[in-house]
C-alpha cells in the first residue's frame, strides 16, 4: 500500500542527472555521507532545483513583499470600492477586489497563510506520524496493537466533526487550525512509517547491525530512519498541497482564516464568485497556488530520487 505513491510517481522523474557519473568519480575518493550525496544528486536534478528556488523566492516575496506594497491587505480604498484593473497611479499594481482592497497585498498575505499552514501542519503530522509509526513498527507487540487501534479509531472520526469540536472548545484561533489539520494528517503518515519499519525490521542488515554491537537507538537512527526517509519525504510533499487545499476548504466553510485575513484558497473561493466580471481575481491566486503545489511535487520527487543511492 505504501508503495503506491512511489511507483505512481516514478515515471517522469529522473528528469536530468546529466553527468552524475563524472560527479561520482570525483567524489569516489573523498569521504561522503548519504546526506551529502543526496544533496549532490538533488543539485544535479534540474527540475527539482528550479522548483526549490522558485518556492524559496515565492515564499520570500510573500513574507517580505508586503512591506513594499503601498496598500495593506485589509485596507479598503474608499475612492474605489469595486474591482478595478491594475492601476499604477493609485498603487494597485494588480488592481483591487470587489471591496476595493489591493489584490497584490491580499495575494501576498494569502500566500503567507498558505505557506504557513502547509509547512506547520505538515510538520505536526510528520513528527507525530513518524514517531508513532516507527515506535509501533519497531517495538511491535502490545504497543503496536494499542497505537494502531487508536489510529483506526481516529480514522473513523469525521474530519469536519473533529475540527468543529476543536474550534468550539478552544475558540477560533489561527494556529489551532494548523494543529487540527496536522492532527488529522498524521494518521496516514504513521501507517506508512509503521509498514516501512516492519519490513525493514526483519531485513538481514538490521540483524547484522545488532551483531555489530548496535543498540536499539543506534539502529533506529542509523538504519531505520534513513531507509524510511525516502518514502516519508514523498508523502510529506504530497501532504503539503493536501493541507493547503484543506485549509481553503475550511476557510470557505468559515472555519479557517477569518476575513479580512485571507489565504490563497479563500481568495480563489472569492474570485470564483466573480469570475465572469473580473477573471483576474480568480486567475491570479489560482496560478500562485497551482504553481506552488506543482513545485512541491517536483521537489518531493527529486528528494526521493536523491535519497535513493540506487537511482543514479
Amino acid at each position: 500500500m505504501s508503495d503506491v505513491p512511489i511507483n505512481k510517481r516514478r515515471s517522469g522523474s529522473n528528469l536530468s542527472v546529466p553527468n552524475a557519473d563524472a560527479l561520482d568519480k570525483a567524489a569516489d575518493v573523498e569521504g561522503r555521507s548519504l546526506w551529502q550525496d543526496a544533496f549532490r544528486r538533488l543539485k544535479a536534478n534540474r527540475a527539482a532545483m528550479i522548483s526549490a528556488i522558485f518556492l524559496i523566492v515565492l515564499a520570500f516575496i510573500c513574507f517580505v513583499g508586503t512591506a513594499f506594497v503601498p496598500w495593506s491587505y485589509e485596507e479598503i480604498d474608499w475612492d474605489i470600492l469595486e474591482a478595478t484593473p491594475p492601476n499604477f497611479a493609485t498603487g494597485h499594481y494588480l488592481g483591487t477586489d470587489s471591496l476595493g482592497r489591493d489584490l497584490l497585498a491580499r495575494i501576498l498575505q494569502g500566500g503567507q497563510v498558505s505557506f504557513l499552514v502547509g509547512i506547520l501542519a505538515t510538520s505536526v503530522a510528520l513528527v507525530i506520524g513518524v514517531s508513532v509509526g516507527a515506535t509501533a513498527g519497531f517495538v511491535g507487540g502490545r504497543v503496536d496493537q494499542f497505537l494502531m487501534r487508536f489510529v483506526d479509531v481516529m480514522y473513523a472520526v469525521p474530519l469536519m466533526f473533529f475540527i468543529i469540536i476543536l474550534m468550539v472548545v478552544f475558540g477560533r484561533n489561527f494556529y489551532l487550525m494548523f494543529l487540527a489539520i496536522g492532527f488529522v494528517e498524521w494518521l496516514t503518515m504513521s501507517r506508512i512509517v509503521r509498514g516501512q519499519t516492519l519490513t525493514l525490521k526483519n531485513k538481514e542488515f538490521i540483524e547484522a547491525a545488532r551483531a555489530s554491537g548496535g543498540s536499539t537507538t543506534s539502529i533506529i537512527l542509523r538504519h531505520i530512519v534513513p531507509n524510511v526517509f525516502g518514502v516519508v519525504i514523498v508523502y510529506v510533499t504530497l501532504t503539503i498541497p493536501q493541507v493547503i487545499l484543506l485549509e481553503s476548504f475550511l476557510s470557505f466553510l468559515g472555519l479557517g482564516v477569518q476575513p479580512p485575513m485571507t489565504s490563497w484558497g479563500a481568495l480563489i473561493a472569492e474570485g470564483a464568485q466573480e469570475m465572469e466580471i473580473t477573471p483576474r481575481t480568480l486567475i491570479l491566486p489560482a496560478v500562485c497556488l497551482s504553481t506552488t503545489l506543482f513545485c512541491f511535487n517536483f521537489l518531493g520527487d527529486g528528494l526521493r530520487d536523491a535519497l535513493d543511492p540506487k537511482d543514479r
Binding site: 567524489a27 569516489d28 575518493v29 573523498e30 569521504g31 561522503r32 555521507s33 548519504l34 531485513k203 538481514e204 542488515f205 540483524e207 547484522a208 547491525a209 545488532r210 551483531a211 555489530s212 554491537g213 548496535g214 543498540s215 543506534s218 542509523r222 538504519h223 534513513p226 531507509n227 535519497l307 535513493d308 543511492p309 540506487k310
Partner: protein
C-alpha cells in the same frame, strides 16, 4: 573444563507457531533447534551441515543470542551468554561476529561500503578519530581483497562476491575470536565460492579465529572444517572429526548425504552404493517420535520409534546418535 572457549549445552530454540484457535490462538512449538551440544576450540573450524530448514541458521543466531534460546546454555569463555542483560551482551559480542548468507541483504543499501565496514568501530571504538577509522577500514578492505578506493561505493554497485567480502570485512575489523559463517558462499558463483572460502581460511590462520561454518555443501565443509556436526530437524545426528566422518560415516543420514556427493573418479562413482533419501523432511512442527530420522531411514526398527537415540562414542573423535550404528 576451565579452558572452555565456546561450549553449547543442550541448546533449544522453539518458535511458537499459531496453529488454529479462532479467538484465542493455540500455539505449537516449532523446534527449530532441539537439544544441540558441542564445543569449539580456539582456532578451530566446526562445520555444520544439514538440509534446508533443519535449523542451521537458527543455531548460529542462537549462539550469538540474536535469537533468544528457549533452553540450554551457550557459554563463551566461561560466561553463559543466555544469562546476560542487553548491555553485557553487546559487550560480549565484540568477540563474536557473523557473516550472513545473503551478501546484499545483509548490507544497508543507504550506507557506503566504508560506513558499513566501520560500523563495529563506531560501536566499540567510539574514541577513535575519523582518520584512524578510515585507515583501519582501508586496511581491512585491502586484506579481504577489495580496492580501498571503492570505500565510497554503495552495496548495489558491487558484485555478490564483493558484497560478501564487505560482510567479511565488517565481521573481521574488530579482530573477533569467533566468527559464525552462515552459508557465506551458497549465494555465490562456484568460482567465487572458492575465493571466498580461501579468504576465510587465510583470515582464520592469520587472526587465529574459530569458525562455525554453516553450509549444506559437503565438499566445501570438507575443505574448510576440522570437525563436522550433522544436523537433522534441529538435532545432532553425528559429530566427528573431519577425517573420520568422511572416511567412516556412522549415521545412516550422514551416509546418505555423503553418498550423494559425486566422486571425481568415474569408476568409483559408477560402483559406489547410493543411498537415496526417500520422502520429504518431516514438518518440524510435528517431528517423528523417537529418532527424528526414522521416517526416511532404511535401518529403522521399532526401537527407533519408541526411544530417542543419545549421542554415543563411535570411535576416536566420533559421536553418533543412532541405535543401530554398529550394524
Amino acid at each position: 573444563m576451565s579452558d572452555a572457549f565456546l561450549q553449547v549445552r543442550d541448546l533449544k530454540v522453539h518458535f511458537p507457531i499459531r496453529t488454529g484457535g479462532i479467538l484465542i490462538g493455540r500455539y505449537t512449538p516449532l523446534k527449530a533447534v532441539d537439544g544441540v551440544s558441542f564445543d569449539l576450540n580456539p582456532g578451530e573450524t566446526l562445520g555444520v551441515v544439514g538440509e534446508s530448514g533443519c535449523g542451521k541458521s537458527t543455531l548460529g543466531r542462537a549462539v550469538l543470542q540474536l535469537i533468544g534460546a528457549t533452553d540450554g546454555a551457550v557459554s563463551w569463555l566461561g560466561t553463559d551468554l543466555t544469562s546476560l542483560n542487553k548491555k553485557e551482551l553487546i559487550a560480549a559480542r565484540e568477540n563474536l561476529q557473523i557473516v550472513f548468507q545473503d551478501p546484499l541483504a545483509s548490507l544497508d543499501p543507504r550506507m557506503t561500503a566504508g560506513d558499513i565496514i566501520a560500523e563495529p568501530l563506531l560501536n566499540y571504538r567510539s574514541t577513535m578519530s575519523k582518520a584512524e577509522r578510515r585507515m583501519m577500514v582501508e586496511g581491512i578492505m585491502e586484506r579481504v581483497g577489495l580496492l580501498p578506493r571503492m570505500i565510497n561505493r554503495y552495496p548495489h554497485e558491487f558484485s555478490g562476491g564483493q558484497c560478501q567480502r564487505i560482510g567479511i570485512a565488517r565481521a573481521m575489523i574488530l579482530r573477533p575470536k569467533l566468527v559464525i559463517c552462515d552459508e557465506p558462499v551458497s549465494a555465490l558463483d562456484v568460482s567465487i565460492q572458492a575465493q571466498v572460502v580461501n579468504l576465510l581460511m587465510d583470515l582464520q590462520r592469520d587472526f587465529g579465529l574459530a569458525l562455525l561454518f554453516i553450509s549444506h555443501d559437503l565438499a566445501i565443509v570438507r575443505h574448510i572444517s576440522h570437525r563436522v556436526l550433522v544436523l537433522y530437524l534441529g538435532r545432532v545426528m553425528e559429530l566427528a572429526d573431519k577425517a573420520a566422518l568422511y572416511a567412516t560415516p556412522r549415521h545412516p543420514y550422514t551416509q546418505a548425504l555423503l553418498s550423494a556427493v559425486p566422486i571425481p573418479d568415474p569408476t568409483q562413482e559408477r560402483n559406489k552404493d547410493r543411498i537415496l533419501l526417500t520422502g520429504d523432511l518431516p514438518s518440524p512442527l510435528n517431528p517423528p517420535t523417537g529418532c527424528v530420522f526414522r521416517t526416511r531411514c532404511g535401518k529403522a526398527t521399532d526401537l527407533c520409534a519408541s526411544q530417542t537415540p543419545k549421542l554415543e562414542r563411535a570411535g576416536d573423535g566420533q559421536e553418533v546418535a543412532c541405535h543401530h550404528w554398529k550394524d
